[in-house]
Amino acid sequence: MTNTIADIETAEVILVTGSNTTENHPVLSTFVKRAALRGTTLIVVDPRRIKLSHHAATWLRPELGTDIAWINGLMNVIIKENLFDKTFVENRCEGFEELKKTVETYTPDYVEAITGINATDIIETARTFAGAKNASILYCMGITQHTTGTDNVKSLANLSMLCGNLGIPGGGVNPLRGQNNVQGACDMGGLPNVLTAYQKVDDDAARAKFEKTWGVTDLPAKPGLTATDMIEQAGTGELKALYIVGENPLVSDPDLNHAEKAIGNLDLLVVQDIFLTETAKMADVVLPAFCFAEKEGTFSNTERRVQRVRKAVEAPGFAREDWRIICEIATRMGYPMSYPNSNAIFEEITKVTPSYAGITWDRIENEGLHWPCPTADHPGTPILHTQQFTRGKGMFHAIDHRPPAELPDKDYPFMLTTGRVLYHYHTGTMTMKSPGLNTMSPECFVEISSNDAQRLGFEDGTMVDVLSRRGKITAKLKISSKAVDGTLFIPFHFAKAAANRLTNAKVDPVAKIPEFKVCAITIRKAA
């Protein structure tokens, strides 16, 4: 997030898109709902009539995979009616003319034809958004998990810059991170193209610094494979060994039937986890690890706040801390890695990670700090880009709408979108151990509108087969007011009826993120 969670309540307008906030980030959603209760204008743009839409002044319903179009539509109106922040655009941005030229095509009527959103709603929403003193944009996987994911995010950034909403309280472009430490995993260089703090692996100076600290030579300069590429290359036989820490791709990956074959093709699969997950069951070696309640360390949350994790209980049996296991293997491979405790690792992190350089465990004992925090006396940075952007001037990207990789047709007439429910988390390895959570959400379901169900002659609770070009699952039909005609929703938590047997593994060309949010399916009564 460019801004903080607390900051959301100070916005005049909040635009939430591609985020089922009340179910995926329930506590963060309270900030949005409280703001709306006190008079902030809440705009929800989402293909499902999610709970948050009941708190909103406006709910806009785009067809799946048409986000660039509606965002361009808003900018078309804002530029045409001269509602944009001229000072901000002139002083802080570049590329405005190209943007203007591209969005000229996206008239409200043209956008209505692509997205299904009423032209007058586009105009009204554009005026409301641009008219705000400060407007916050919140988004999540509904924006990113598309073959146009990168361009969707850039489009939101365009909109925010155009209205001068960056670098100010109550503004910003705010991705809501879905996992406890996904921010930290990225910050720490758990990505194929960057070391810690996004220092590029092909930057010689950066590598030299790490080589010196780590006492090694020849750190690889070529960016590596993304998770989705790894699965591909396991399939083709180029990748021979995979070491997986605390992940369950055999439920969370797209096109599971394909992923299963690919992973089965590996010479060596090592899985380090707290449970014998679907993925661990396929491993050659399984290494038992500690869970969060058993260890000391830090997580970085969605607002870049580095916070402490503390040990409360002893781990079961012979389980070990993740870092100790990896250090042992490194040592046995001839590169001794050893630390007295995880705080010592954190101290090494701060030496090579400029944005964490000023953070110590002592400083975050009571309250976490927002990175960048470059020095010991720096108070942290709650709001990014207040003076300038990382690259200097903010770059407008002129982007055109592109349809999703797979659209409904005669054989697969429905659109499928996937996501989580409130009571479960990701592949359910943790939440499905709680009887109460299982009571509230016992099994997979296929969410459908009452119109569609009626048209097909299906009743609530009917067991249906759901088929895509890639696979088939069987689950109970659930008629819901959240569903819109033509679009079905299935949560991806449940291994027994894994929605990802259906999803499309086509990825965004830049971010390599799969298009979990759109594919074509059909349903029929289960045999």
Partner: protein, 377 residues
């Protein structure tokens, strides 16, 4: 600059900000005024009136939570008049519900007898689950309220135990409305409200249905707000009363919000989770997973020793066997097929320190940048 505005509380002068109530000024200056219905961040209702104070020149006692501080106002936080009023409020509350914490039988003259009686009764099934953590009980002690002999009215509504996570015991409810405010103004889930009228008043969910059949999402904000034992957690494990509970503050391991939580531990088991209080980012709020979703930690399904595949089956192994096997196999693959034939998937679930070690291992030891995690999934 305008003239400085001051208020006098218990003969001490304090400055105050516009919009501050008497209660705000008192609490900011560590002057004790009891509250029951008052909930930070929500609209004051003045429902319970336990926070009454005496204001010079005012005909009656006023509710300090709902009375704005005014210039030259003179307030007495605990005058004889105030104490008398508070005692009668407490007495009424004790007699209007099921408060079997022994406080009802409390005889101010015989302290020892009372202590012995409590010890004897403790551990029985009937004793209130929030014994020792009840604001009403605390206040009854503080103001030496005797409710002995007062008739006790029976609750009209039976206990609701059909829900996962939350038990509703209407017999202990003092109708302070904090749960309603927590639900409607803090979490804005709008699941519960006051229902019926007069003596029939009840906190209802939807059209008076069980929580599990209402809009309730079991965030548990109401449990933390309840000053008495009307809303309590349906524990999988019953906390033991005489075992010391260790409280450990940490960060929730579910979504990316990073809520600050407190794990309550007895006998190496997490018996309860509550928020870590008024600290960011969650400022005391939690969701259903963060409050009730930690059974997995002590699950018997946890992995407890390394496993190695032998003849197609995963079998138990020692750490030495497993670590050697992984180290040797990776060395072999690296030698035969090159560094880039190996991939490491680190995790958005583990700590920064562990992610750092995982990518360091990939880059410095395996010599590959094939390191990624589940950010995209």
């Amino acid at each position: 600059m305008g003239k400085e505005t001051t208020i006098t509380i218990d003969n001490k002068r304090f400055t105050f900000e516009p919009d501050e109530t008497i209660l705000d000024v008192a609490h900011r200056n560590n002057i004790f005024i009891p509250t029951l219905c008052h909930l930070k961040g929500a609209t004051p209702t003045g429902a319970c009136r336990i926070c009454v104070v005496e204001v010079e020149g005012a005909p009656n006692l006023v509710a300090s939570c709902a009375t704005p501080a005014a210039n030259d106002m003179v307030v007495y936080s605990e005058s004889q008049e105030v104490i008398k009023d508070r005692r009668s409020i407490i007495r009424l509350m004790l007699s209007s519900g099921h408060h079997n914490c022994a406080i009802r039988d409390f005889d101010t003259k015989d302290w020892t007898q009372f202590q012995l009686k409590v010890l004897e009764e403790d551990g029985t099934q009937d004793l209130c689950p929030v014994w020792g953590e009840c604001k009403l009980q605390d206040l009854a002690y503080r103001y030496q309220v005797k409710a002995k002999g007062l008739p006790q009215s029976e609750s009209k509504y039976p206990m609701e135990r059909v829900n996962p996570f939350i038990i509703r015991d209407f017999s202990r409810c003092i109708l302070c409305g904090r749960c309603v405010q927590a639900c409607r103004e803090v979490q804005v889930n709008n699941a519960i409200d006051f229902g019926y009228r007069g003596a029939d008043t009840k906190i209802v969910a939807g059209a008076d249905v069980a929580l599990k059949d209402s809009d309730c999402v079991f965030c548990g904000e109401c449990i933390e707000a309840c000053p008495v034992g009307a809303l309590v957690t349906e524990h999988a494990l019953k906390p033991e009363r005489f075992v010391k509970t260790q409280k450990v503050r940490t960060t929730c391991s579910y979504c990316g919000v990073g809520c600050q939580i407190e794990l309550n531990v007895q006998h190496n088991r997490i018996i309860k989770v509550n928020s870590a209080g008024d600290v960011p980012p969650n400022n005391g709020s939690l969701c259903v997973k963060g409050r009730f979703g930690f059974d997995f930690v002590a699950s018997p399904e946890r992995l407890t020793s390394p496993l190695i595949r032998k003849n197609g089956k995963l079998e138990g192994a020692t750490w030495d066997e497993a670590l050697d096997l992984v180290a040797d196999s990776l060395t072999q693959v690296k030698k035969d097929h090159g560094s880039d034939s190996i991939g490491v998937l680190t995790s958005a679930r583990v700590t920064n320190e562990e992610n750092y070690i995982a990518q360091k291992f990939a880059r410095a030891v395996l010599k590959t940048n094939n390191v990624d995690h589940c950010a995209r999934l």
